[in-house]
Amino acid sequence: MKNPLKAFRHMSYERKKGLYGYGFIAFWFIGALLFLLFPVFESFYYSLFNVVPETGYMKITPIVTNGVTDYISNYKYAFTVDPNFRQLLVEALEDIALKLPVILVFSLFVAIVINQKFRGRTFARAIFFLPVIIATGPVYAIITGDINISGNSNADQFSSMFEADMVDQLLEFVGIYGFGSRFTEIITTITSDILNLVWNCGIQIIIFLSALQSIPSSAKEVGQIEGATGWEFFWKVTLPYVSPMILVNIIYTVIDSFTDPTSGVMERILSVQSEWKYGLASAMSWSYFGIVLIAIGIIFSIMKRFVWYENE
């Protein structure tokens, strides 16, 4: 028998440090087991069966079709029978594909603007980060809902107040009629919702701003000495330095928009949950989550080529 204390004393320094590492993360690991991993596996388990809540436990019965237990029945139902799920899924993917570039360009632009020196910069920054503080809570949802409903008498309806139908008018002005309703539809979805755009970009702006501030002054000096114009400086210096954060922002935006409880798919999942169909709800959320992960993986592998790291 080896005395464990003695064994610990004779251990190499590196291994000892490693054990301390386990000690540091032990609390979190127990928590992750209890509140993350078990629930995740449990919900996956639910997704394979027919689940009915009873007092004190979940009644789990296998779904039998044609005499064979059918484990993927819930998934089949979600994708083929459920009237809304597939359509909502496609809509969510389209929505993010349209919104992502706009959010990225907009937040990078705002970050560059409020990174410049001008009078009242602190004040402007404080206002631009306000959405980060407020938008996650119920207050924002209530206020925007109220504004839409109340219409505020002779003031313009809020929803139409910031709606820019400029694109159509511009196209018509130039002489292009009927450019394809699909195209104008896409553009109007992008431009019409400036309020939501501004209110959903807080974190992205912070991340870009911190990236901009970490551009070394030597790089700026080189740009000045070589006589780079602002345009050249942006493409040759700013963008490469910011590129790792573009990747981070893409992933953040994708996750944020997919997991938003007011998004169509999330609402559908929650409503199925409130009908006590836990098996189906779990199957839906698992397939949704899987699609999100695949989407992130694809974006990540594409974007990885365009990211430039200073140390490499």
């Binding site: 054990l19 540091f24 996650t136 109220d146 003031a155 809020f158 409880p261 992960l293």
Partner: protein, 424 residues
């Protein structure tokens, strides 16, 4: 030709002579150096030092002990009084003269340079105006809901349908706010929320810091897999796993320990422990993100700091507590502040675990039904009629966070950039 030749010859001879002279000189110096013995050199130095000492006592005492300190003091004083006039005299031109000078400068330039300069000047004029327009416009969009909230919260219901009232209400009233606060049971709810909020945030900051430090500074087996769990923690929305979590607290029996010891599962619903326990175990609201932030910021600290502590015999935990944590103080503050804000804003997790226990966010979420019940007597009222009370409730619910944000705005906005997010 001859003269030239002579001249060149004489020049070259002179050059040779001087070169030789220099060479000799250098060699001579070298020889001198060799002649000096180490002893002599030492004596030389001691003599010089003596001389300096003698002089110091006599003459430089004044400059070292009195003059320089006084000058230093005056210099520091000058920092507080900015100079009224610059050292140099600026050349002053009238507008016409400046224009004339610029025109003259342009004349010496190539057309391409001229064009570039003109574009630059135009941009220099236009950009600040354009920028101001963008910033003011966007700020207005951001502030619009808040202005609407304040404007609506203090007006009577009649003003909502009054077409002449746009922003400033005709009849100012505090009754909306009073009613909303009464319906929300504001002050007891506020106290509840504050206690849970601050308690959870403090606990969460420390549990996340410990975990982040463990990931940042120790190498152990399975580290990458474990860190992937942290990433999952950020990725997985609470909506997907809230049913198993609810079940966990409704029939609280971790790992089957309680039943194994002969006890019974406990019902923890409506008990604040449903918030505290995840926070203690590093799985509170947005804990994954905080662990990530801490890991980044601890990675950015120099390794020498903790090596010194280890050499002095600190245990790893003591090192973390006494050396590393104080050095990451700004990250602690940032995480604490964001934690408070997110706990304050959360209603999803709280609505899973609480049915009667009051939390501000939860009360706000259910405010429309509550108002309809207390003021309109449980009739179905269109939300349009409730707007004034809803906005008043929002105002009451958001004010504490806004005050916190305004007071500590610097730490919110600079915190994330300083906590090393960019070093990813």
């Amino acid at each position: 030709m001859d003269e030239n030749k002579n001249g060149s010859v004489s020049e070259s001879t002179v050059a040779v002579v001087t070169e030789e002279h220099e060479k000799k000189h250098i060699i001579g110096d070298d020889e001198n150096m060799h002649l000096h013995s180490t002893k002599e050199a030492a004596e030389d130095i001691s003599k010089k030092v003596d001389v300096v000492d003698d002089k110091e006592t006599a003459a430089s005492f004044f400059t070292v002990r009195i003059k320089e300190p006084v000058l230093d003091f005056l210099h520091t004083l000058r920092m507080f009084f900015p100079e009224s006039e610059p050292h140099y005299k600026e050349a002053k031109y009238t507008r016409a003269e400046l224009k004339e000078r610029f025109r003259k400068r342009l004349e010496h330039m190539s057309p391409a340079e001229q064009r570039k300069l003109k574009i630059q000047r135009a941009l220099g004029w236009a950009w600040p105006i354009f920028r101001a327009m963008i910033i003011i416009g966007l700020c207005f969009i951001i502030l619009y809901p808040l202005i609407f909230m304040v404007s609506t919260a203090f007006r009577t219901r009649a003003d909502m349908s009054d077409p002449t009232v746009l922003w400033i209400p005709r009849n100012l009233t505090l009754s909306n706010l009073k009613d909303a606060m009464l319906t929300m049971d504001y002050w007891p709810t506020f106290r509840n929320t504050l206690i849970i909020n601050i308690g959870c945030s403090i606990i969460q900051v420390f549990s996340c810091a410990l975990t982040g430090y463990g990931f940042a500074r120790f190498k152990f087996k399975g580290q990458s897999i474990l860190f992937f769990i942290v990433v999952l923690q950020i990725l997985i929305p609470p909506q997907i796993i809230n049913i198993p979590q609810f079940k966990f607290f409704r029939y609280f029996d971790p790992f089957g320990l309680l039943t194994a010891m002969g006890g019974e599962a406990i019902n923890f619903i409506d008990n604040p422990i449903t918030m505290y326990l995840p926070a203690i175990l590093g799985n509170g609201i947005r804990a994954g993100l905080f662990i990530f932030l801490f890991r980044q910021s601890f990675r950015g600290l120099p390794k020498e700091l903790e090596d010194a502590a280890y050499l002095d015999g600190c245990s790893p935990f003591k090192t973390f507590l006494m050396v590393m944590a104080p050095n990451a103080a700004s990250t602690f503050l940032t995480v604490f502040l964001f934690s408070i804000v997110w706990y304050w804003n959360d209603y999803y997790v709280t609505s899973t675990f609480f049915t009667s226990f009051g939390i501000i966010a939860l009360k706000l979420k259910n405010l429309d039904a509550a108002i309809a019940k207390t003021i309109f007597g449980n009739t179905t009222v269109p939300v349009r009629d409730l707007v004034v009370w809803l906005e008043a409730g929002c105002l009451a619910g958001i004010t504490p966070i806004l005050i916190l944000y305004i007071a500590l705005q610097k730490y919110f906005t600079e915190g994330i950039s300083r906590s090393g997010l960019t070093g990813m």
